[in-house]
């Protein structure tokens, strides 16, 4: 257990450093934007009849730091705000704290990503085993090629093709927003049904674009394990096929769990394209809107949150790995 505790401590320390780095990056970007939006706003407010103090305060609310004062002062201001989870106030949605906007957006991202990823993981892993076992046959070849291609096609291309096919040429599925506005939000059949219907294409896109990676990863993992001595040893000891198969599967899937946790984190960032194309008001769309509307507080907030998700996913992946792999559990680093 102490091993795990030590690892956790190391991860948290590294995660903190990462957050610090990313926050610093977004601070300097906001601070260096051409045309200095802060100064512009500050001066505008003063022109509008505000006292310099009140104007500075208003700008601090918007950007998280005072427009006047030294760079260092601004920086500590900004970081201090982050410490209290104060991400500033959205400009494009006047008066709404960024944290609230992102909280609302997160649910539109997390659920489709989760469903799509788990779905593709399940299918991809099972087909990956077949691709490995039948790797000399036509079926194995076809599975591997389908995996490579789907893995290679960018998510947005896939999304657009799906929209063109299932929403334009054969209009059977909606591709515009998360739900039909006709329905009263709440727990009623119409609303839930509309939600589900609108989720089909985004979820399928997530699943298809991730599927290829799983097939390929599982195939190569199974091929590696099949070459391991202990599998031959189990066969030579006359172990039942089902038991040998379990040995293969468990050893092969182990490294994939790490990737699963990681990809869940990364997907939150990768959701950008899908949310843009399907007009899903999730974190990715918030980030794009922040960039397009020059709503810097929203932008850097979304960026920080997405990075935070990746870091958390990293930690979860590693801890998860160390609980299921006895080699790590007992303190011996896996090679």
């Amino acid at each position: 257990m102490t091993v795990i505790a030590r690892r956790l401590a190391g991860h948290l320390a590294r995660g903190l450093v990462m957050i610090l780095v990313v926050a610093t990056i977004s601070f300097f970007i906001v601070n260096n934007i051409p045309g200095d939006p802060m100064a512009a706003r500050y001066e505008k407010l003063i022109e509008g009849g505000m006292s310099p103090e009140a104007a500075a305060q208003a700008v601090k609310v918007l950007y998280g730091f005072q427009p006047t004062g030294s760079l260092w002062q601004q920086y500590t201001d900004y970081m201090g705000g982050l410490l209290h989870l104060d991400l500033g106030v959205s400009v494009s949605r006047p008066g709404t704290p960024v944290l609230d906007v992102l909280g609302e957006a997160a649910k539109w991202t997390v659920l489709p990503v989760l469903v799509g990823t788990l779905l593709s993981f399940l299918v991809g892993v099972i087909l990956g085993v077949f691709a490995a076992i039948r790797r000399t046959s036509k079926l194995g070849d076809a599975l591997a090629i389908s995996g490579s291609l789907l893995h290679g096609i960018p998510q947005y291309v896939l999304a657009m093709l799906l929209v063109v096919i299932f929403a334009t040429l054969i209009p059977i599925l909606p591709a515009d927003g998360p739900v039909d506005i006709l329905f009263e939000p709440g727990f009623n059949a119409g609303y839930i049904g509309s939600l589900a219907e609108h989720a089909v294409l985004p979820v399928v896109t997530y699943a298809l674009s991730a599927y290829g990676g799983w097939v390929l990863a599982m195939k190569s993992s199974v091929v590696t394990v099949l070459g391991d001595d202990f599998i031959l040893a189990a066969e030579l000891r006359g172990m039942k096929r089902s038991i040998v198969f379990r040995y293969i599967a468990r050893n092969a899937i182990l490294p994939l769990f790490t990737i699963l946790a990681l990809s869940l984190g990364l997907l939150l960032g990768g959701a950008v394209f899908i949310e843009k194309i399907f007009n899903y008001p999730g974190l990715g769309l918030m980030l794009i809107n922040g960039v397009n509307d020059r709503d810097y507080a929203l932008m850097s907030g979304a960026f920080l949150l997405i990075t935070g998700a990746v870091i958390v996913a990293n930690i979860v992946a590693d801890l998860f790995y160390s609980t299921i792999d006895p080699r790590v559990r007992s303190g011996e680093e896996a090679a």
């Binding site: 590294r14 450093v17 990462m18 780095v21 990313v22 990056i25 977004s26 970007i29 260096n32 934007i33 051409p34 790797r135 000399t136 090629i145 490579s148 291609l149 893995h151 290679g152 096609i153 960018p154 947005y156 291309v157 657009m160 093709l161 929209v163 063109v164 929403a167 334009t168 040429l169 591709a175 190569s220 091929v223 590696t224 070459g227 990364l266 939150l268 960032g269 990768g270 950008v272 394209f273 843009k276 194309i277 990715g284 980030l287 794009i288 960039v291 397009n292 020059r294 810097y296 932008m299 850097s300 979304a302 960026f303 997405i306 990075t307 990746v310 870091i311 990293n314």
Partner: protein, 304 residues
């Protein structure tokens, strides 16, 4: 007990040059067995030719035909026309230069940075290795696309070289890791010590022995990094966070979807599909080449 052991087959320094000689034979064998892989190389070559020579056949500002706005594919315009009446195929061809030029810059930077740092890390080991790999890890952790989106507020990326530079600086992590792993693995096999024992200089070991045997891995990881970079830059323009100063596939996609409404009206489908097809074809080429490389260098996946 006696230490009377029949010598097991001994590896030696000659393996590197033997590997190199066998390499081209392996390439040829793999290519011959599955002609589709040769097709991959041909597709990639075709794109390079298109990017280098294609734009020479068109004027800087493509002429628009006001009478033929957003037309579906026809004999005259194979993929139809855009909302300004310009030929979509011409747009794809002229746009390929931006995409491939920035990809080339990315490739150069990934290879130089990745190989340099990977070699250094794997060669020196110890503290430098730890620090460099921590940095690489961190870089791999920061989600690339969101970072690019944020950067898009500061940089305009009107120049493909600039785009390639940024993407390259964001993308060398994979190559660095691969090169480091290879260096360490060769070191573990006593390769470097053996070369040292023969009195070879570090420069010679790296230049003549290590790099040639690693070149395929570098190439493979570079291709993967470049694919990612192409997607990222087309995607950035597609998302519309960058100004439409330059002509490239991403801008086309953005205009097709969000201005011509290609996903709603079948009229503009050609406009949407042409850049999509170009990306798919490029993907296919890269996938086939990487697949061939994978089989050449990963004997475990080699089919009997």
């Amino acid at each position: 007990m006696s230490a009377t052991v029949i010598p097991e087959t001994s590896g030696g320094i000659s393996t590197a040059s033997a590997m190199r000689r066998n390499f081209w034979r392996g390439v040829w064998r793999v290519m011959r067995r599955k002609p589709s892989r040769l097709a991959g190389a041909v597709i990639l070559a075709g794109f390079v030719v298109m990017a280098v020579f294609g734009p020479m056949f068109y004027p800087d500002n493509l002429p628009g035909d006001a009478n033929a706005i957003t037309r579906p594919p026809s004999w005259e315009h194979w993929f139809g026309t855009d909302p300004q009446g310009r030929d979509v195929l011409a747009l794809v061809i002229t746009g390929s230069r931006y995409v491939l030029l920035s990809a080339a810059v990315t490739a150069l930077i990934t290879v130089v940075f990745g190989t340099g740092l990977g070699l250094f890390s794997g060669f020196k080991r110890g503290r430098w290795d730890t620090v460099l790999m921590r940095v690489t890890d961190m870089k791999l952790t920061i989600p690339g696309l969101p970072l690019l989106l944020v950067l898009a507020t500061v940089w305009k990326f009107g120049n493909p070289l600039q785009m390639g530079l940024v993407l390259g600086l964001l993308g060398w992590g994979g190559v660095a890791r691969a090169v480091r792993a290879q260096t360490l693995s060769l070191r573990e096999r006593g390769f470097i010590e053996a070369a040292r024992g023969l009195g070879l200089s570090t420069g010679h070991i790296i230049g003549k022995e290590l790099l040639p045997s690693m070149a395929p891995y570098i190439a493979m990881n570079m291709l993967i990094a470049v694919t990612g970079a192409v997607y990222a830059q087309v995607g950035l323009f597609f998302l519309g966070v960058l100004p439409y100063e330059s002509n490239n596939w991403g801008v086309m996609l953005n205009l097709a979807v969000f201005q011509a409404g290609a996903m709603i009206t079948p009229y503009a489908l050609g406009y949407l599909l042409a850049p999509l097809l170009a990306i798919l074809l490029l993907t296919l080429g890269i996938v086939l080449v990487v697949d061939a490389m994978d089989e050449i260098f990963n004997p475990r996946l080699r089919e009997e």
